[in-house]
Structures are given as structure tokens and as C-alpha cells.
């Protein structure tokens, strides 16, 4: 039997995500710097920037925070975005993003490359846990179960990665 991490990794990779196991937020910052071009901006979801100040410290001037006046336009096509995931699901290789605030959502929506960070202990076996988690905190204001980069098969059923959403997704299992 594969371990739950192995199962998650296999499914996520099938969906074209890249899976990393990292120990610290500092490691996440390093990953973002590697993935961004030399001068690429790194967008942080505001809730994550508040919770993990170490990210802004490590990324310095490269950090891009959504402008409350026009959050979407301000982070559109950021080289890299970093958001926190609520759950990782081994059954499908998915990550659950809980994003009631538009300012958080635009980062996961519009960045070219997206890093989703999930605490290792929040890795669950199957989708049933998603229903439980979503129902637990009252009705989910805005949550998305995301599985890999955005894609389409609308032309001749030919799978093509990268449409309106991120074209590259990295999932970090943290801790």
C-alpha cells in the first residue's frame, strides 16, 4: 500500500501539479524565488502575508500584495503567487482553497505560477473530508477544490495546460 503522501503525489502529478515536501515557510520563500524569473514579482495572499511575516521578510522587494482598490488588476499575471491551502486530498491530488476575501482569491486566480501550501497534517485520504470541512465552519463563503493548473480540451479534445487560471501549480506539503 502506498502511503497517503505517495498517493497524493501520484494523483497530483497526474493532474500536472508539482509536489514538494518542505520543512519551513522559509523554504517556501526559496522555492518562490527559484520559480520566479530574476525580476518576477511574487504575489502573496493578504491573509497569508499577515499570518507568516517570514515570507515578506525573505522575499523583500519582490513581494506583491493586492491593492485593495483594484485587487485583480494589481496582481494580474504575477510571476508567482503563494496561497495557503486548507486541505490536501489524496483521492484526487486536489488542494482546497478557502478564500472568502477577494484579495486572497485574485492571487490564486491570476498568478502565472501558483504555490499552494498545505500543512502536512491537513492531508486527508478522500473527498468525503472536503464535505465535512466545508460544512464545519458554516456555509463556505467561497471555496475551491483545485486540482492542477488550469486546462482545456475544447479544441479536438487535445489537453492544453494554462487557460485563464495559473499554468503551473506547485503544492507544498509543509512540516
Amino acid at each position: 500500500m502506498p502511503t497517503i503522501v505517495e498517493a497524493f503525489r501520484a494523483r497530483a502529478e497526474e493532474a500536472r501539479s508539482v509536489v514538494h515536501e518542505l520543512a519551513t515557510w522559509s523554504g517556501v520563500a526559496t522555492l518562490a524565488l527559484v520559480l520566479a524569473d530574476a525580476d518576477g514579482r511574487i504575489a502573496l495572499s493578504p491573509s497569508l502575508a499577515r499570518a507568516q511575516p517570514v515570507l515578506s521578510e525573505r522575499l523583500g522587494a519582490r513581494v506583491l500584495l493586492p491593492d485593495p482598490g483594484d485587487p485583480a488588476r494589481s496582481v494580474a499575471d504575477a510571476a508567482v503567487g503563494i496561497v495557503r491551502g486548507e486541505l490536501a486530498v489524496a483521492e484526487t491530488g486536489s488542494v482546497l482553497l478557502v478564500e472568502p476575501e477577494l484579495a486572497d482569491r485574485v492571487v490564486s486566480m491570476l498568478s502565472l505560477t501558483l504555490i499552494q501550501v498545505v500543512a502536512r497534517e491537513r492531508l486527508v485520504e478522500n473527498l468525503d473530508a472536503v464535505a465535512t470541512t466545508l460544512a464545519a465552519g458554516g456555509p463556505p463563503a467561497y471555496a475551491s477544490l483545485t486540482t492542477g493548473p488550469s486546462r482545456t480540451a475544447d479544441i479536438e479534445r487535445s489537453l492544453t495546460i494554462g487557460v485563464q487560471g495559473p499554468s503551473e501549480v506547485h503544492v507544498v506539503l509543509l512540516g
Binding site: 477577494l102 482569491r105 473527498l127 464535505a131 477544490l145 475544447d154
Partner: protein, 735 residues
């Protein structure tokens, strides 16, 4: 059906005949869809196997569970909607229930007017197509831009979707490149699909950032939490629902599910059935507006409660719009969704169109359905589509102006065995000069051109029931479970006159297995042709005569499994309101067997009993392959029974036939009313036969035999087509 006739489709869809001709004239449609159906089936089957492994439950158990959830909602739709509304409103959502398409459009247009909105970005929504939302907004001076790639391509081309999930599947890459080159104004290479895909991002980005309205559909409304569930792959759904300050969801009332756990159950089957994915890229749950934004949910009836009131079709409301039914439909492959359907395409569209857009809109494509039953085998909510399609045909026959007089007259005449015998004799006399072997060879200059693809069979001078060979002695070759049993042979009207050798061979086989074969007097047609045409009264007359003729026989066997399907499935529907005949039909169900089923069980001959080489006819060394009668696979659960019987009794190896369970295209009346579809499906079958390398093609339904034989002859292929009864009877040892 409906209390009021629904309004005509609010946007322009050409008449069926025009759409049908256009589809046939475009080889891109059938070529593209053939590749699509084959690759979809392979990935879908793999994904269904995976969900069976994950859950430890069969597909039938999983879809049964989902069907039960949906049925529970439909039993109290208003109650579930009220719960949904209460929760959603508590979160600040505005929920509006509307009766008609016009009401929905008016609400959205008014909202735009009040908010000063002139630009809308739009995620894919079949309901918006159903109500003609884009046209209504345009009329109100509001530009609605489709943001799903497939929908965007179609909007640029001025077309509507041909598939529920893959709207532009009828277009090939060259056509898309040409379109984008013209509209976007720079060159696109047909083989650079990623560049075409990127164009939708660059072209639409500014629209997303400036639009005042975001429109989406919904895959489910969750009653317990007031949540909209939305499933997408491209990310345009998340953007349409987040970026504009006003988000409007258009959704059918039937999309309601009780709980989030139920929504997740739907997710497990939806993407697998739709695109062959384990899950789509984005499954989004929205309860209430984003702070500072507005969320309106327009819940549309537009004929749905009328469906719910009809017991014959109510389960069509379980539909989760995956499109799987179209993806296995052999007729859909030939003509695509613009001809096969209306706004809603594929088999489900043949049913629901009658309620959303009226009987007239539903009538045209009915004849394209070959009744093969493949759609029902893949439906993730187990909708009995073949029976529902037949019910809509019944409504069209009764209320939609009825059948053409010629068809009605033909069906009426067919009900009389005496008239059919006279007509057959007349046909035999007229065609005598051009009869040759098993065919009628009409000179090319006399044959209607569009029928030249299939050589018609010879009409026999003497039907099987009048031939001594049907009653000739045949010594048993082994002791079987049928030894000493009296078996009533049901000849089938078609085989009786057009292929008398089939019932004669069946009788020999049954006698070789030790049975005493009798041919009940008064048997004629089981009623299937009339039933298929929606002529229920005629079908009932023939069914009653058949039941009466077969009374008193414990074992009824026929070489025509199509008649068994009628007796096992359709008689119950026919006699729903006649308890006496319903009981007699139920008794018959327990006694009737198709020949292959009977030879595989009761009349099982010992292994290798027919292992002899045959003199003449093909030779034992010829490669043999098997076409499974589609309804046998799809409705009777026959599986590989036919192959097992042949390999076991004859001790030969069969060449595998790709897509063996896919219909051959005979499809009863389809080959007469839509010969091009029949021909297209036949071509797919014969291409597979050629690829198998076989020189002998065995199948188990007389209709398929005549159709395939005629097709093989007209194509000049060197393949012998035989009914399994003939194939096996030729191997009975002599003396």
C-alpha cells in the same frame, strides 16, 4: 404533457432538415466525433474502474446512490428549494424563482439596467443557452462575452454548442485556426493548439477586469448550506463569479441536492462521465456574495415541473449534464449535436427538448435514434433514456400531428399477417427477375441513389413458416437440459420472410439439443416496429396477438433477440394500464428466451459438440469474428455470451472485433427514415470488421444479419455474414 406549449426557442436554430443536411455535408463532424468517441470511451472506462476501486463499490451501486439522492429531491422539489433559499438569503444571496425563459431574461436585463451594466463576462451555462440569454441581453444593449474557450469560439463563429460539455467538439483545429485568424487578426497555425488557447486569455483579460456582470451556471445547489457548486477546468468560472461586482447564476430547479456530501458524490461521477477526468481543475463552492458584491441566483423552471409530473420521463431531471449519453451514441457520431438534438444535444436532448422547447423542436431528430440502448449503460444517474425517448415519440405520434400517413398505413398493414404474406408474395414476384442468392439486385439506374449503400435482401417466395424444412426431423446429438422439452419457436416476422434459413437453422439446433420444436400458429410480429414509431395502439394489438399465440408454452425460443427485448421490456410499458394483459405479459417474460441464451443454459450442448469442419461455406480455417447485437449487450446484459457459446461449442478461436457491442446501424426504422445515419454507423462497423481480418462475421439478430450482409455486398467486401443459428447448424454432425 405540458399545460402550455413552451415558447419557441428564443434564438435562431435552423429547421431540423437543414441542420441534418449541413451535418452530413461536413466530414469534419463524423471524422472528428469518431476519434472523440473512441478516446473518450477509453478514458471514461479507466476512470470508472478507478472510482470503483476507490470506493469499493460498483458503477451500478454508485449511480444508483446518486439517482436515489436526485429522486429524493425531485419528490419534494419545492421543499428543497425553500431550504436552499432560506440558507442562501441568510448569507445575503438574492434568490429568484422564475417560470419561463422570458422571465429569467427580463430579470437579468432589468438588473443590468438598474446597475448601469453594459458588459458581462460569461462562464459556460447550458441553461443560458436554453433560455437564449445572450440574445436577450444583446437586445437590451448589453454585451455578453463567452469566456469558456469552446463557447467563445462558437460565439465568434455565430454557432450554438453541439455538445453539453465540449461545445465546439464538432470543429476541427483547422477550422478554429481559420476563425481565430479572421477574428483576432493575426495568423494562427492549426497545429499550434496552445497558441490558440492562449489567445482566449489575452483577448479576454481586459473584459474580465472591466465587466460589471459575471454570469455562470451551476452544477448543483446545496440545500443545507445555500451553496452554489460550480465545476470548471479553465478557471473562467472562478473569474466570472469573483471579479465583476454582480454575479448572476442561471440554474435549473432540478440541480438541487440536499447536502455538501451529496454534492461531493456527484463530483465523483460527474467529471469521470463528462471528460474522463478524475475531477475537474476547479470545483467551486459559493455561499453568499463576496463582501461588497452582489450574488443573484435565478432558478428556472421552463418545463421542469412538467417533466416531474410525467412518470414516464420524470427521472430525466436527474441529469447532471455530463454528456456521456452523446459520447456513446452511434448516431450522434455520424451527425453531431447540431442535428442530433436542439439546444440540449444527444439522447437526453431528445427527451428534455420536448418540455423546454416544445414537441415540434423535439420531433425532427427522433428518427436518428437507433434504439441501441448504449446511452443508458453510461448514464451516471441511471436515466432510462431509451424508454424515455420512445415515450416522447409516442407523444409526437399522438399530439404532434401524428405520423406521416404513409408510415401509419404501412404500420397498420403490417399488423396483419395475411396482408404481409400477400405483400411479400407480390414483392417476391415483382423482384423475381433481379433476385440473386440472398439478395435482390436492383439495377443501378433504377435504385434510389441514397439507398445504394446496402443491397436489399431477397424476398422469399415461401416464408419459413410454410417450408417443410422448418418441421424436418433432426436426430439429437447429445442429452441436454432441453431433452424431451417442448420448445415453441417464435420465428420473427422479418426472418420468416427475408431470411427463412435463420428460423430453420434454429429449429435444427434445438432438435439437435433434444428438444421437440413446435411452431405456434397465429404468431406474427411482436409489435416492436410500431412501438418504436410511437404507434402504441398498433403495438398493443400485435403484442396481444403474440401473447395469445405463445400461451401454454413453457419454453418460447426465438432467433431474434430484438423480439425478446420487446417482450421483456416494452410489453410492461404497453400494458401499464391493462392489468390483465400486464399479467399475461409478465408470465410470458418468464418463459421467453433468445436462442443464444437458451443454447447457453437449458439446451447446452457438450463442449466441442459442433467442432466439425464445415463443407463449403467458408471453411473451418477462415477467421471468424462476432458482432454483438447492441440491445443484447445494452439491455439484456448478454455480455460476451455469444462469443463464449461459439468458442465452446465449435472449439474455434475468434478474432476480436473492436467496438463489438456498438450498434451496426440497422436500428429498425432509422435505416429507412435516416439512411445516411444508418450507413454512417454501418461504415464504422465494417471498418472494424476489416481491421479484425475476419472473413466470417457472426451475429445473433436477424435484422443485423440482413443489414450487415447488404452493406458488405454493396461495399464489395469479402466477408460472409451469418446468423449464429446458421453458423452453428452448419456444424451439426451428420448421422
Amino acid at each position: 404533457m405540458t399545460d402550455r406549449e413552451p415558447p419557441p426557442t428564443p434564438h435562431a436554430i435552423a429547421p431540423f432538415a437543414v441542420r441534418y443536411r449541413a451535418a452530413l455535408a461536413d466530414p469534419n463532424v463524423r471524422d472528428g466525433l469518431l476519434d472523440f468517441q473512441r478516446s473518450w470511451k477509453a478514458t471514461r472506462d479507466e476512470q470508472i474502474a478507478s472510482v470503483e476501486a476507490i470506493t469499493g463499490r460498483s458503477f451500478d451501486a454508485l449511480r444508483g446512490e446518486l439517482a436515489e439522492i436526485k429522486d429524493g429531491v425531485l419528490a419534494d422539489l419545492d421543499g428543497h428549494l425553500a431550504r436552499f433559499r432560506a440558507r442562501a438569503e441568510a448569507a445575503g444571496t438574492i434568490v429568484v424563482e422564475v417560470a419561463t425563459a422570458a422571465d429569467a431574461n427580463a430579470y437579468i436585463a432589468d438588473l443590468c439596467r438598474q446597475r448601469g451594466i453594459t458588459l458581462a463576462v460569461k462562464g459556460k451555462s447550458m441553461v443560458s443557452e436554453e433560455i437564449g440569454l445572450n440574445a436577450a441581453l444583446e437586445a437590451a444593449g448589453i454585451e455578453a462575452v463567452e469566456t469558456d474557450l469552446g463557447e467563445w469560439i462558437l460565439q465568434l463563429a455565430g454557432e450554438h454548442p453541439s455538445h453539453l460539455v465540449m461545445p465546439a467538439i464538432h470543429k476541427r483545429r483547422g477550422q478554429v485556426a481559420e476563425l481565430l485568424t479572421r477574428v483576432v487578426g493575426r495568423h494562427f497555425d492549426p497545429d499550434d493548439i496552445p497558441a490558440m488557447v492562449r489567445s482566449v486569455r489575452t483577448e479576454l483579460r481586459e473584459r474580465f477586469l472591466t465587466a460589471g456582470l459575471g454570469l455562470t451556471g451551476a452544477n448543483a445547489l446545496v440545500a443545507e448550506t445555500g451553496t452554489v457548486m460550480l465545476v470548471t477546468n479553465e478557471g473562467n468560472g472562478r473569474m466570472s463569479s469573483s471579479l465583476p461586482a454582480v454575479h448572476v447564476v442561471t440554474v435549473g430547479a432540478e440541480k438541487t441536492v440536499p447536502t455538501l456530501a451529496d454534492a461531493i458524490r456527484q463530483v465523483r461521477l460527474l467529471a469521470r462521465s463528462a471528460t474522463g477526468q478524475r475531477i475537474t481543475t476547479y470545483t467551486t463552492f459559493i455561499s453568499g456574495p463576496t463582501p461588497g458584491h452582489e450574488l443573484h441566483i435565478v432558478v428556472i423552471d421552463n418545463g421542469r415541473r412538467a417533466i416531474a409530473r410525467e412518470s414516464a420521463v420524470e427521472s430525466a431531471l436527474r441529469c447532471i449534464r455530463c454528456g456521456a449519453c452523446a459520447n456513446v451514441c452511434p448516431a450522434y457520431q455520424v451527425v453531431g449535436g447540431h442535428a442530433f438534438g436542439h439546444v440540449y444535444t444527444g439522447p437526453i436532448g431528445l427527451v428534455t427538448t420536448a418540455y423546454h422547447h416544445g414537441l415540434e423542436a423535439a420531433a425532427g431528430p427522433q428518427s436518428l435514434c437507433v434504439s441501441c440502448g448504449a446511452c443508458a449503460t453510461v448514464c451516471p444517474v441511471d436515466i432510462p433514456l431509451p424508454a424515455q425517448i420512445l415515450d416522447v415519440r409516442r407523444q409526437i405520434a399522438v399530439r404532434g400531428g401524428g405520423l406521416a400517413w404513409a408510415k401509419r398505413a404501412a404500420l397498420r398493414a403490417f399488423a396483419s399477417r395475411r396482408l404481409v404474406d400477400i405483400a411479400a408474395l407480390a414483392a417476391a414476384i415483382v423482384t423475381w427477375p433481379v433476385q440473386s442468392g440472398v439478395f435482390t439486385r436492383i439495377p443501378r439506374r433504377l435504385a434510389p441513389r441514397h439507398l445504394g449503400w446496402r443491397t436489399p435482401p431477397r424476398v422469399s417466395w415461401r416464408p419459413a413458416h410454410a417450408r417443410p424444412a422448418l418441421h424436418a426431423a433432426q436426430p439429437p446429438i447429445a442429452v441436454t437440459g432441453a431433452t424431451g422439452r417442448r420448445v415453441a419457436l417464435f420465428l420473427q416476422c422479418v426472418a420468416d420472410r427475408l431470411a427463412p434459413e435463420i428460423p430453420i437453422a434454429a429449429a435444427r439446433l434445438l432438435r439437435a439439443a433434444g428438444a421437440e420444436v413446435v411452431v405456434p400458429e397465429g404468431q406474427h410480429c411482436c409489435g416492436l416496429p410500431a412501438f418504436d414509431a410511437g404507434e402504441r395502439d398498433g403495438a398493443r394489438r400485435m403484442a396481444r396477438a403474440t401473447i395469445a399465440a405463445l400461451d401454454g408454452h413453457d419454453d418460447v425460443v426465438t432467433p431474434a433477440p430484438s423480439c425478446v427485448v420487446a417482450m421483456l421490456h416494452e410489453y410492461e410499458t404497453l400494458f401499464a394500464d391493462e392489468p390483465e394483459w400486464r399479467d399475461r405479459a409478465a408470465q410470458l417474460r418468464g418463459r421467453v428466451h433468445d436462442l443464444v441464451g437458451y443454447l447457453s443454459t437449458t439446451a447446452r450442448l457438450p463442449r466441442g459438440a459442433l467442432a466439425q469442419a464445415v463443407a463449403g461455406g467458408g471453411g473451418a480455417e477462415a477467421r471468424v469474428t462476432v458482432h454483438r447485437f447492441c440491445q443484447g449487450s445494452n439491455l439484456l446484459g448478454a455480455g460476451d455470451r455469444l462469443e463464449r457459446l461459439i468458442t465452446d461449442l465449435c472449439a474455434i478461436e475468434l478474432a476480436p472485433l473492436a467496438e463489438t457491442e456498438v450498434c451496426c446501424g440497422f436500428g429498425g426504422s432509422t435505416s429507412l427514415t435516416a439512411p445516411e445515419v444508418s450507413h454512417g454507423i454501418l461504415t464504422r462497423k465494417l471498418d472494424n470488421v476489416v481491421a479484425s481480418g475476419a472473413r466470417v462475421l457472426v451475429t445473433d439478430n436477424p435484422g443485423c444479419v440482413l443489414h450487415l450482409r447488404g452493406g458488405v455486398d454493396a461495399s464489395g467486401l469479402r466477408v460472409r455474414v451469418v446468423h449464429v443459428a446458421e453458423f452453428l447448424a452448419a456444424r451439426i454432425p451428420i448421422g
